[in-house]
């Protein structure tokens, strides 16, 4: 039982808030009119990962990427729409720091109430009551109602209760922002102790320095999908770079992008060793992203092509991340499987194009059209000359946007 958490192809579908049936009347009316609409939103989309005993895994992603939803699945609060998730071991959620506290009860009463909610045994709580109070540094205030506490005191109490026991699986959702600097330091020590005690930790934070410090591995989620699951030293800086890039509609970000789905692409460059491909903004000639094993958003892309031959850019598959952003991935499928690609990658039709200009290491790639839009195609050309060098109507591969997981 080495694997404690294992998620296989997990998806979670929400009903969009706009169509929530808040009243019987609305529901009946809609049913009668035959309009029980099923517009859904995928909070998690085919997420697969597994976490072994003793691992400390950070979860990063923008707001709304699905991080908290994933934690809810791990704690068993919600069940996946499809796929399966199995968790072996006692899960102690820190999702709810302060949520189980009752403002009207005293701190001491709350230790028992919140402890019961978190699943502690009564006898165990009784034995550890004093150490919880000591850790919270509340002193005599412990018998005052929690409503009289400052917010820092409340969080200190909640943290002390929640981390009093060492669980097999600890889930931390933005909990290190507790109290003043001194208490935060104490919290980090406590978390480190729990980690060193052999607990498996799943950690969500917007503080990338915390993630890098506490976690060896990081999973980056975006729009419900796993972007990158790898060592946190690799994932964090790229994510940081990515998250600093403001969302810019393709039309603004890429001058010349048309409403028909065409995206004049930016510049590719082989590095001299032939192993890396960078994507840059054509206008500014600056590299937007590096070390990203896949395309992941507006203007951010990178691929490593171990077998790419100079001057050759094998194009693989078009990736449309949203209606406003387009990107594509490239690699050499025939020579070697794509590093970041799943099995089905190989089934894609691939086309190779030779670009004369690539000899210098610069590959001007030019116009991409979305195959998701009927009648569009993928073409590669020379932006400077505004000439299409090669067009491939047969390219239009996947109707669905794909995303690469590890």
């Amino acid at each position: 039982m080495d694997t404690l958490i294992s998620a296989k192809g997990v998806s979670l579908r929400f009903s969009a808030p706009t169509e929530r049936k808040g009243s019987i009347k609305k529901w009946v009316l809609d049913a009668v009119r035959g309009r029980v609409r099923n517009r859904h939103f995928l909070a998690l989309d085919d997420v697969t990962f597994s976490i072994r005993r003793g691992e400390t895994v950070g979860l990063v992603g923008r707001n709304g990427a699905g991080k908290s939803t994933l934690l809810k699945l791990v704690t068993g609060i919600v069940n996946p729409t499809c796929g399966s998730i199995s968790v072996h071991g006692q899960v102690a959620p820190l999702l709810a720091l302060g949520n189980g506290l009752d403002q009207r009860l005293s701190g001491r009463e709350n230790i028992y109430l919140n402890g019961a909610i978190l699943g502690y045994e009564k006898a165990w709580l009784r034995a550890h009551e004093e150490s919880i109070i000591d850790f919270s540094e509340l002193g005599d205030f412990i018998d005052a109602p929690v409503r009289t506490y400052s917010s820092g005191m409340t969080m200190r109490l909640a943290f002390s209760i929640a981390t009093a026991a060492t669980p097999e699986i600890l889930i931390l959702d933005e909990v290190l922002a507790v109290g003043d600097a001194a208490f935060q330091a104490k919290c980090r020590v406590r978390i480190s102790e729990i980690i060193e005690g052999g607990a498996t930790v799943f950690f969500v934070s917007h503080s990338l320095s915390d993630i890098r410090q506490l976690c060896r591995r990081a999973i980056w989620l975006d729009r419900g999908r796993v972007v990158w699951d790898g060592p946190s030293e690799d994932v964090c800086p790229v994510f940081e770079n990515f998250s600093r890039t403001p969302f810019v509609p393709a039309a603004e970000f890429l001058p010349g992008a048309g409403s028909d789905g065409t995206v004049p692409v930016v510049m590719f460059r082989f590095r001299a060793d032939g192993r890396d491909l960078l994507v840059a903004n054509r206008e500014e000639m600056c590299f937007i992203a590096e070390n990203l094993p896949m395309w992941a958003g507006e203007g951010v892309a990178f691929h490593a092509f171990p077998e790419a031959r100079p001057g050759t850019v094998p194009l693989f598959r078009f990736l449309r991340l949203s209606d406003k952003s387009h990107a594509f991935a490239a690699g050499d499928a025939e020579a070697a499987p794509f590093r970041a690609a799943p099995g089905e990658w190989k089934e894609e039709k691939t086309i190779c194009h030779v670009f004369p200009a690539a000899a210098s290491g610069l590959v001007p790639v030019h116009r991409l059209t979305s195959p998701g839009v009927p009648g569009c195609r993928l073409a590669v050309g020379d932006a400077a000359r505004d000439a299409i060098l090669a067009a491939e109507p047969a390219f239009a591969p996947a109707a669905e946007p794909f995303f690469v997981g590890m």
Binding site: N99, Y120, E121, A127
Partner: protein, 271 residues
């Protein structure tokens, strides 16, 4: 409430976490009930006395009003009235607090994986404790009206258990539905008023005759209140009355559990 099986600190420390399952959630429910009690009368001067005062005052008020009409028709009208009120209130409190139990704990439910049944069950247990307090003024009336105390009065516990099971069943259905349709909150207030008038709580049972008798036969509250009144008057109800109470209790609780179990996995997303 269950007591823990470990008490030595060393033993307990080795296993801080509750084992999963129904039997090990006693501490959770007892803490939630304690919370209900400590907070219900928070910042009120009379505090827990309200448990006793509330039914007493309601009875006094209804007695003042209805003794004008029904006093002569019902022997020992005060006892008739307060037994009806106490049991009716028990039903209303259990169902309407259980109704809100899931919504009220939305913050917790969407964050902590706590056995969901604990919330409505907690409300039912709290109502039961309130009911037991309310028996105090009831027995004051028993004493004042010089009704002899008989051992058969222990049968009151039978109708209490049936009422608890019946109300919890209804409460489970209501709590499940209220998550998805907030209308249930308002509809149930209306339904409670309907029950109040459809059940002989303050008017004599003889008022419902002929074509209205069905209202009585199919009214679970009637059977349980009728049973309790008979017991208080020193009688042992016939077997059919025992069966009627048990039937309503079992059917209601089974339906409630089925509905709750079918819908509970959707609560966290719907809240």
């Amino acid at each position: 409430m269950t007591e823990t099986f470990h008490d030595g600190a060393g033993c307990a420390a080795s296993r801080p976490y509750r084992r999963p399952g129904f039997m090990h959630s006693g501490f959770l429910v007892s803490e939630l009930v304690k919370r209900d009690f400590k907070t219900r009368y928070d910042r009120s001067v009379l505090g827990v006395f309200w448990c006793v005062l509330q039914p007493a005052l309601t009875m006094a008020l209804l007695y003042a009003v209805f003794s004008l009409f029904f006093k002569s028709a019902i022997p020992n009208f005060p006892l008739y009235l307060i037994s009806g009120i106490v049991f009716y209130q028990f039903f209303v409190e259990t169902t309407s607090t259980a109704l809100r139990s899931i919504q009220d704990n939305a913050g917790l439910i969407s964050k902590v994986n706590v056995p969901l049944w604990a919330y409505p069950v907690t409300r039912a247990v709290s109502s039961l404790v309130n009911f037991l307090f309310a028996l105090l003024p009831l027995f004051v009336v028993v004493a004042l009206t010089r009704v002899p105390i008989r051992p058969t009065m222990l049968l009151l516990s039978y109708s209490t258990v049936c009422m608890l099971a019946f109300s919890l069943g209804v409460g489970l259905v209501l709590a499940s539905l209220a998550v998805f349709f907030h209308d249930v909150n308002f509809l149930w207030g209306f339904a409670c008023t309907l029950f109040m008038y459809a059940t002989p709580v303050f008017y004599p049972e003889t008022a419902l005759t002929g074509g209205h008798r069905w209202m009585v036969y199919f009214n679970p509250l009637y059977h349980m209140i009728h049973f309790s009144r008979a017991v208080l008057n020193g009688a042992v109800p016939p077997a059919v009355e025992f069966a009627a109470c048990a039937l309503f209790a079992i059917v209601s609780l089974s339906v409630g559990m089925l509905v709750f179990r079918a819908l509970k996995n959707k609560f966290a997303l719907a809240l």
